[in-house]
């Protein structure tokens, strides 16, 4: 028995030490080992014709394509596609679709059309709520840009997406993007299957996502070869073209050191949330991640517990002129995990240096006077009145910690050096007055 205990202790320490090495070091979502998507199941993802054209010249499909033109001839392309076909998983999970959904609008019966339209409209609404267009550009018919506000080369352009992919893959992709591409920046939205179906319907049907094809292209037919010599040739071409530098491809030897951490390690709690939702695509934590959304390094000292929890579940509009946070549909328990982590770790010591403020109704009036005297309302909105440049302050007392308000008023550039807000150089007394006023701005019960 003693031996068994010894063994288990040793095993435990081994595993424990290995885990410690990984312990939450924030990893920037932009530090991917490979930039291209995995190619192992590409055959299940894209249409054959699209793949052929893409291999022929990626710039033809997308002028901003990051993949080089490998100058392959027709035979080589077929060989490559045959190899990719040979390595794909035989069973890729299928989703059942109602037959009529594959029909064109005009071919449907009235009842079918109505059912489809319901789904389509719902999809369009989900698309809007989820704020997909923050990351994804869509170049409309007149090359007019729709969406894609995060100009950080995050989402791909979706203008012709429904000529490229199929419903089945799209469903699985939206359901769990990391399952197909572990390093992707695409977050996992907690959609219900029904919501995914509706959004698939919207993307696959709406004219925004299509582009007319020339006639001769559609008539071309591509047949994969099962010939082993052809498949081997395809493999050789993939090897010689060094595709493996950017793509994961089954059966091709790696050339560069590959960091497999993200795929192998089981992560929990907040780490898992960061990985799933990819918060750091937009938010910055301790110098890592995007700079598009507010920095979270001191969010624990800044934001109130209750507010974090409710905001994560249903993000509200704070800065009307800027983009809003997408609605990821986080569950209550997930929001709780995030809240606890933020409150515990994202802190600044400075907050402790000032005494706690307590709500004092008698001091509100003084602050209010000062607020309007200094002209804060020209940028900030309280109730129905005020400017829209700064955050809406109607319920600011529910959102911000009072100590943070005070510190921020004393120097708005303390936590955000490039903040637009001017430094008024308030005295301690003035800042206190304003803090009391702002603390009192709460949701009416």
């Amino acid at each position: 028995m003693k031996n068994k205990i010894l063994i288990s202790i040793l095993l435990f320490t081994t595993i424990f030490f290995k885990l410690i090495v990984k312990a939450s070091e924030f990893e920037s979502p932009y530090s991917r080992t490979k930039n291209g998507p995995p190619l192992t199941n590409i055959i299940h993802k894209v249409n054959k014709l699209w793949l052929y054209d893409w291999l022929k010249d990626p710039k033809h499909y997308n002028p901003d394509a990051k993949m080089p033109n490998l100058k392959l001839n027709n035979e080589e392309i077929i060989a490559v596609m045959s190899y990719l076909n040979s390595i794909a998983d035989e069973k890729f999970p299928k989703v059942a679709w109602k037959d009529f959904l594959f029909k064109k609008d005009e071919e449907m019966t009235e009842q079918e059309f109505e059912e489809m339209d319901k789904l389509y409209s719902k999809g369009k609404a989900v698309w809007g709520q989820s704020r997909c267009s923050i990351c994804h550009t869509i170049k409309g018919p007149e090359k007019k840009l729709v969406g894609g506000y995060v100009n950080l080369h995050v989402g791909i352009d979706l203008s012709k997406i429904n000529t490229k992919i199929n419903r089945n893959w799209l469903f699985h992709w939206i359901k769990d993007p990391k399952n197909y591409f572990p390093d992707t920046i695409m977050p996992r939205y907690r959609f219900s299957d029904e919501e995914i179906r509706s959004i698939v319907e919207y993307i696959m049907r709406d004219a925004v996502f299509t582009q007319e094809k020339s006639q001769d292209e559609t008539q071309k037919e591509i047949v994969f070869s099962k010939d082993s010599a052809m498949i081997k040739n395809g493999k050789t071409i993939l090897e010689l073209s060094r595709c493996v530098v950017c793509h994961d491809i089954k059966g091709i030897k790696e050339l560069l050191p590959v960091n497999k951490n993200s795929k192998q390690v089981q992560i929990h709690g907040f780490d898992k949330l960061l990985y799933d939702v990819k918060c750091m695509t937009c938010h910055n934590i301790k110098g890592k991640g995007g700079t598009y959304a507010p920095e979270l390094t001191y969010a624990g000292s800044k934001l109130k517990e209750k507010w974090i929890e409710s905001f994560l579940q249903t993000p509200d509009i704070i800065r009307p002129l800027l983009q809003q946070m997408p609605k990821f549909n986080l569950t209550e328990s997930e929001a709780k995990i995030a809240k606890e982590y933020i409150k515990k770790n994202f802190l600044t010591g400075e907050v402790k240096t000032i005494p706690k403020f307590s709500i004092d109704n008698s001091k509100i009036e003084n602050g209010e006077e000062l607020f309007y005297k200094k002209g804060c309302q020209s940028c900030h909105q309280i109730g129905p009145k005020g400017g829209v440049l700064g955050p809406n302050l109607s319920e600011i007392g529910d959102r911000l910690e009072s100590e943070f308000i005070f510190l921020h008023l004393k120097n708005p550039h303390r936590f955000k050096p490039d903040a637009v807000e001017p430094n008024y150089g308030f005295s301690d007394e003035e800042a206190k007055k304003l803090t009391y006023f702002l603390m009192g701005l709460r949701k009416k019960e």
């Binding site: 063994i7 095993l11 530090s31 080089p68 060094r242």
Partner: protein, 511 residues
């Protein structure tokens, strides 16, 4: 209960796992390792780092970066792709250094000490203790180096797609190299085959054959052992050897006299007959902002002149043609430790440029202006060509910390032509030997005229003082050969023969 056999095995296994995490085992003699450590810490750690991670103090300023010994990935090996090197491989690199990088040769320390460094370096990576000693690859018999083997090699170069990285003409401007660099900011450069002196593993056909066969671990250069027979690899190495050029190092550029019109076209075949020199360049590291990571390392210069004008042809290899100064939206900057990519939007893409610098007057004696933009007593005149405007502007500078100004339009006397083709810029500049401008140098025959070159590579974020720069070199206009030079010696020659002939005849007659 006794220990059963299975448990025993598990214990050993677990202890081994724990042990291998905490300590490194090495088979070589501890004293040698200890001695090697001392030498390493005296000579090597400034670049390779005290822990062998390639993060020494100098590492930030080096390009390519020093080797990270902890990864156990070695480029120059005689062993199959992915394997460890043999001890001799490491020893050879220490002894010979690595051309085209900052690794010097260490033949000045004793052979024994170099072997001790090898033992110490091997302790940085666990791989040496864990893996079996590697087998060397066999090289086969080298076919004769001739035009046929080169021709065969050329076909293979195309067939196995070397051009995707190394470019159609071997200038390292292939689509993959430029994409990895421009789109992804992943710092991998394919080697430029036309510059023999930068081949990391050496430039003999043997060396090239070895690199083709073993690949370079940790880079996109894989092994071609599976794809090519031994003979094909030899042919390919012959082809690469045939397109590689040696560095022609000179101090004086001779401009030849041309009777009539001088070539005024960058592709004029007349240039083939010209004398040329390769000027080595390095980053400007004397004045802030210091620039250690310059990308252009050499330029070739040719020149001709006639009674009226002088013309220069500048040729240099640049992977990318950067002609526009524009704000990019999707710019990604790389962190030196691959593969981390950090986003830095609103970075600008700059334009390629070249400049030649002359003193305002050819100096008497050795004294020259300060090499970076001259000095207050000795201002300099720069002819600066920029790829965005395709124009050359004459600039007057009198020191790097005083103002620099572009001369007025009527004082601009330099004409220019430029083309970019297959990873190479060719820029041609022409000016009259004498001008009305007193701030222009006068080109006089037979006089030594100092000149200096700057190059800016836009894709490498170079502008102003962030440039490649050479030291001072000299230009000399070779005096045209007057007719007299040919007439008098021949006359003397004929006269001599005639006299000899007379003497011989007289002797014969006397007999």
């Amino acid at each position: 209960m006794g220990i059963n056999l299975l448990d025993e095995k598990i214990i050993i296994l677990v202890i081994f796992i724990n042990f291998s995490i905490c300590s490194k085992v090495d088979s070589t003699i501890p004293e040698d390792i200890e001695a090697g450590k001392k030498i390493y810490e005296k000579n090597c750690q400034y670049c390779h780092g005290i822990t062998g991670k390639g993060d020494g103090h100098a590492a930030d300023f080096l390009n390519p970066k020093p080797r990270d010994f902890t990864a156990g990935l070695y480029k120059i090996r005689s062993t199959p792709s992915g394997e460890l090197p043999t001890d001799e491989d490491i020893f050879n690199v220490i002894t010979k250094g690595m051309p085209g990088t900052s690794m010097p040769e260490w033949s000045n320390i004793s052979e024994k000490q170099r072997w001790q460094i090898v033992s110490y370096i091997k302790t940085f990576s666990e791989r040496f203790a864990k893996e079996k000693p590697p087998q060397q690859i066999s090289s086969g018999k080298e076919p004769t180096f001739n035009s046929q083997s080169i021709e065969k090699g050329k076909k293979i170069y195309k067939r196995i797609k070397c051009f995707l990285c190394h470019g159609d003409e071997g200038k390292s401007d292939g689509v993959i190299t430029t994409t990895l660099w421009n789109e992804w900011r992943i710092p991998f450069y394919a080697r430029n085959f036309t510059k023999a002196w930068t081949f990391k593993g050496g430039n003999t056909t043997n060396d090239i054959y070895r690199t083709i066969s073993t690949g370079m671990n940790g880079t996109p250069m894989g092994s071609y052992e599976e794809h090519l027979t031994s003979e094909e690899r030899w042919n390919l190495s012959h082809y690469i050897k045939s397109i590689s050029k040696e560095e022609i190092f000179k101090v004086i550029l001779k401009s030849k006299f041309v009777n009539g019109s001088i070539p005024y076209g960058a592709d004029d075949p007349y240039w083939e007959s010209s004398d040329y020199m390769t000027v080595p360049l390095t980053g400007q590291i004397t004045v802030s902002p210091r620039w250690q990571n310059s990308s252009i390392d050499s330029i070739t210069i040719k020149s001709f002149y006639n009674e009226k004008e002088i013309v220069f042809l500048f040729e240099w290899d640049d992977r990318t043609e950067n002609t526009l100064i524009k704000e990019t939206i999707n710019n990604i900057n790389f962190d030196t430790s691959f593969p981390k990519i950090i986003l830095q939007p609103q970075d600008e893409v700059l334009s390629d440029a070249v400049a030649i610098q002359f003193p305002l007057k050819a100096p008497e004696g050795q004294k020259k202006p300060h090499f970076i933009l001259g000095d207050s007593e000795n201002p300099v005149n720069l002819w600066k060509w920029s790829a965005d405007s395709k124009e050359t502007k004459e600039i007057i500078a009198s020191g790097f910390n005083s103002s620099i100004y572009i001369q007025d339009l009527e004082k601009q006397n330099v004409e220019v032509k430029s083309i970019y083709n297959n990873g190479k810029w060719k820029v041609l500049m022409k000016r009259n030997l004498r001008t009305d401008d007193d701030q222009d140098i006068t080109f006089e025959k037979g006089k030594l005229i100092p000149f200096l070159i700057y190059i800016w590579d836009g894709s490498n974020n170079e502008k102003d003082l962030r440039s490649s720069i050479s030291s001072w070199y000299y230009l000399v206009l070779e005096p045209s050969t007057p007719v007299k030079v040919y007439v008098y010696p021949s006359l003397a020659f004929i006269l001599a023969i005639y006299v000899e002939f007379l003497i011989i005849r007289r002797i014969r007659r006397k007999k």
